[in-house]
Assembly symmetry: C2
Homo-oligomer: 218 residues x 2
Amino acid sequence: MSNNPDVARRGLLIILSSPSGAGKSTLAARLRAWDSTLNFSVSATTRAPRPGEEHGREYYFHSREEFRDMVAKGDMLEHAEVFGNYYGSPKGPVEEAINAGRDVLFDIDWQGGQQVRASALGKHVLSIFILPPSIPELERRLYSRAQDSKEVIDGRMSKSRDEISHWPEYDYVLVNEDLDETEARLKTIVAAERLRLSQQPDLVNVVRGLNQEFEERS
Amino acid sequence: MSNNPDVARRGLLIILSSPSGAGKSTLAARLRAWDSTLNFSVSATTRAPRPGEEHGREYYFHSREEFRDMVAKGDMLEHAEVFGNYYGSPKGPVEEAINAGRDVLFDIDWQGGQQVRASALGKHVLSIFILPPSIPELERRLYSRAQDSKEVIDGRMSKSRDEISHWPEYDYVLVNEDLDETEARLKTIVAAERLRLSQQPDLVNVVRGLNQEFEERS
């Protein structure tokens, strides 16, 4: 990559959405393990931390007042209220990463996806939706986590149906029948997207060099 | 794939362009060897067959009158005159392949690329430009073919410079430093493109099935 700001690459905003239990978090973790240059957008939330969760790792934990204040200041790239709690993506770390040419991965829902695409940073967005292979399988995965009550799971199932209805808003759609296969497809998509013309502004220099060589020849 | 025409996939038109000697034909051959479902658009030409070339394999060989007749009838998806000979892509085989959901690979120049994109079949186009690593290397490859005179090669080098100037018109650009690496990238691009929303119309049925399962649950 060049240091010339005219041809410096701006990072991609990679949005991964899916209903809860479709494998999104596992896939996001595998993508990060595959590419250590990938930044992950840690969400802010007003929900209480669960045992083992750490501020700045799973989430940034804030009071409702703090959260509203960040939104009012324009510090949130996107935010929404889900089951009575606020969730959002702080803008600062994303801006910093993409300006340095690093891609940022977002594990967010359709509401967040729409807001990120519509935002000032939404010019270079790659969005991928993960569909579950079946609904009984989705429900089984939610129960196997064994951390939520039936009422909570019913609520999540209803939210899942709503989430799934937004699949046509995404650039790519993957049906997660097999986790390894889906992981491979996800990597293929990210690798290909980086070869797009729009993601290689430095090619201007490559072609300038070739034209120089044509000149030297004649 | 479904037999329902509403959700039947139409094939992609994959356009591969590059200056002569940048490795395009080798890469096209490797892509076809990798994916036997890929159709190749055999060009029509008015130039004389070279030894070993076969009508319908390397090219469809036609007289200038026949060629002009095909153009007049609208049977050419694109055509141009290069070094005094006509070249073009017959529309019939392309239409047939994409209607059957098969992708079609085009080994054509920027003029052909522009015409294919602008054509009635140009809705689902994936275009890739191959840049040579250097101009001396490009010239070396042209000489090593040992089938053209210095004048012919000078003409090709001039056409190469013109061809290269059209690199920003393509979806993806690859610098062919290493043939195996470029081949891998080409496959990555084709594989990813097939996972796009627009290339999976059958997902409508998948989501219909998931909604059915939601209904059965409640």
